[in-house]
Symmetry: C2
């Protein structure tokens, strides 16, 4: 590939639970796909996550973060302890590792495509054709960790959470959404927010969409309150083409979208720094699912599709399309019979 | 009824769009239901909403609020201008009237039952039995209007939204949820939040649930992140019995729940002050739907079920059950044919 490096310098963070199992399959497919393009794949594996924290007390040391910065991209499995595991302070791995990566590496485009392959697995009676992407803001909003507690544990406790939104942060992700819409067939952007209640943040988002829309006369756009958006997600998901929304609404909508399009086992995501000032990170939307870990029960499809998004980002669109085609063929032929995690990976790799 | 006044002193706020049409049917049913109990119904109608604002510039004057306080309960239709109406500043009616009522009258329990009557209208292929209630906090969280904008309209704009949560506010609504669960068959409470990210508010909610649960040994409880809760809402809604959650998550989840149980046309709600220091307010979850207003196309069922919640709150459980039974019989026999708003009201009133 003339436009890309001939070797991909890849960071791999398998993580906890089913993370290592699904990442093994994603690598199996990725290796075969890049080899077919004559591209090398150099892998550096990082031990991070709940297990690693239990063993070492480390979440994401500065040296590791610095080392990750030297890679072309990061393939990420899943992190998080079992819900009942009281040895690990709740949420610490998510915040001090996963969110720290997104924030430190400025992953402002949290890209989550939702596509229904056939009608496989949708809980909807009449899902119709579903093919949209959610461009979720990834570096601000209610995720900034800005808040506090006063008089904790007393009857007078007050707890706050502050959502921070900046013109800089909103504008770049909105422009990215319009750019992606412009390259799609329907060329339509839907802003999802709750500006009738969250006036300050909501109006910043709305004004920004109206302004950026001027740059893209070929793209139409509309607005939905987040509550109404969840209704359309189950009654008329075909209406969506590109959704742009804030960090928290995007978190909620993309899990719902994943469910509607056949389940979290198929939902891929990219945490993308479009300015390429740091490596982007690709991960399945699902979590570490400790209850089925190590049993070869997890569906590696979301991880494999995340590898395709990774290739897309690095400029190997042809290889990405081949992986997607192999996944679609595999998913559309599923008969509900149980296959092991590696059997699914083998089948998709074979179909490449 | 020995426990209740023999005349209900009712405030009626029909509002905008389809509000007046659906409220007319709710009153038709309510009047018949209370008459059968030998109870009087004294009505005071209030002109409030977007139309009223356009005519007078008033949202909710202090005198009107004071007058409303003298009533036993409020039956509310819907408010809000047409989305394209630029004469009305966006969200002003919602905030300065609807939310002002909820906050001023301390409606801390925003009660939203979700029940699937037959399988009528659910977009899910296999909805199963759905019968849960959402106890949404109604007086704090991200709805407090606490935030601001710095350098508006410049590339350096910063907009904040502050979610305020107090031990007082969280504890009383959590206790209400456990109390309601204790009176139900399955006796199960699910707290929905996002405590792995919204640490401060999330932990206040979680600690409060754990503490209040001690008072209700007969009630079981679990926890779901809001994103996961939306997945279960479409893959396994039967798992829910009583959901307790914050103002914004409750807003999102109840619209989704309404969609899953046959649509927003059936979803009732109560804005309840359990301490009875001010009148409670009952309203359909749907909005003013200006696009179909005045055409007798709106489904009055949600408004009628809201009147049943009103009777429940005032101590007329028998009359409330009769309305519910009449609604269920009507909904289960719907064949998809179009009926006018008043035909639906007539049918339900006749079935009482
Ligand atoms: C694990 C959690 C912090 C994360 C999020 O809320 O962003 C997850 O739900 C996701 O969507 O990637
Ligand atoms: C109109 C709006 C302010 C309101 C809310 O967000 O609470 C509505 O969506 C609701 O759920 O009653």
């Amino acid at each position: 590939k003339c436009m890309s490096a001939s070797t991909i310098n890849l960071a791999v963070i398998p993580g906890d639970g089913i993370g290592p199992e699904v990442i093994a399959e994603a690598l199996k497919v990725l290796e075969k796909a890049v080899a077919a393009e004559g591209v090398g794949l150099e892998q550096t594996h990082y031990k991070l996550g709940a297990e690693h924290w239990l063993a070492t007390g480390e979440t994401l040391p500065d040296e590791v973060l610095a080392d990750l910065r030297t890679r072309d991209a990061i393939l990420f499995g899943a992190v998080g302890a079992a819900p009942g595991d009281t040895r690990i302070p709740s949420g610490i791995i998510e915040r001090e590792m996963l969110l720290k990566l997104r924030f430190s590496l400025d992953h402002y485009v949290n890209l989550r495509p939702s596509r229904l392959f056939g009608t496989v697995g949708s809980p909807l009676a009449n899902p119709g054709t579903i093919d949209f992407i959610v461009v979720r803001e990834g570096t601000e909003g209610p995720y900034v960790g800005n808040g506090g507690t006063l008089r904790a544990g007393t009857p007078h406790e007050v707890a706050t959470e502050v959502s921070l939104n900046t013109a800089h942060g909103v504008e770049r992700v909105v422009r990215d959404a319009f750019r992606r819409a412009s390259a799609r067939e329907r060329k339509h952007v839907t802003l999802v927010h709750k500006h009738n209640v969250l006036v300050f943040a909501g109006h910043l988002w709305k004004r920004t969409v109206d302004a950026v829309a001027q740059e893209f006369p070929e793209v139409t756009h509309d607005y939905l309150h987040v509550d109404a958006a969840t209704i359309f997600m189950v009654t008329d998901p075909s209406r969506f083409d590109v959704i742009v929304t804030d960090n928290l609404f995007g978190d909620i909508l993309t899990d719902l979208a994943a469910a509607v399009t056949g389940g979290i086992g198929l939902a891929a995501s990219g945490n993308i720094n479009m300015d390429r000032t740091a490596p982007s990170m690709f991960e399945p939307v699902h979590g570490s699912a400790p209850d089925i870990a190590g049993q070869q029960k997890a569906d590696p499809t979301a991880a494999i599709l995340s590898a395709a998004l990774l290739l897309d980002h690095l400029g190997y669109a042809g290889a990405a399309r081949k992986i997607e085609a192999a996944v679609i063929a595999d998913v559309e032929n599923r008969d509900g019979g149980a296959r092991t995690t590696s059997a699914v990976g083998d089948a998709i790799a074979a179909a490449l």
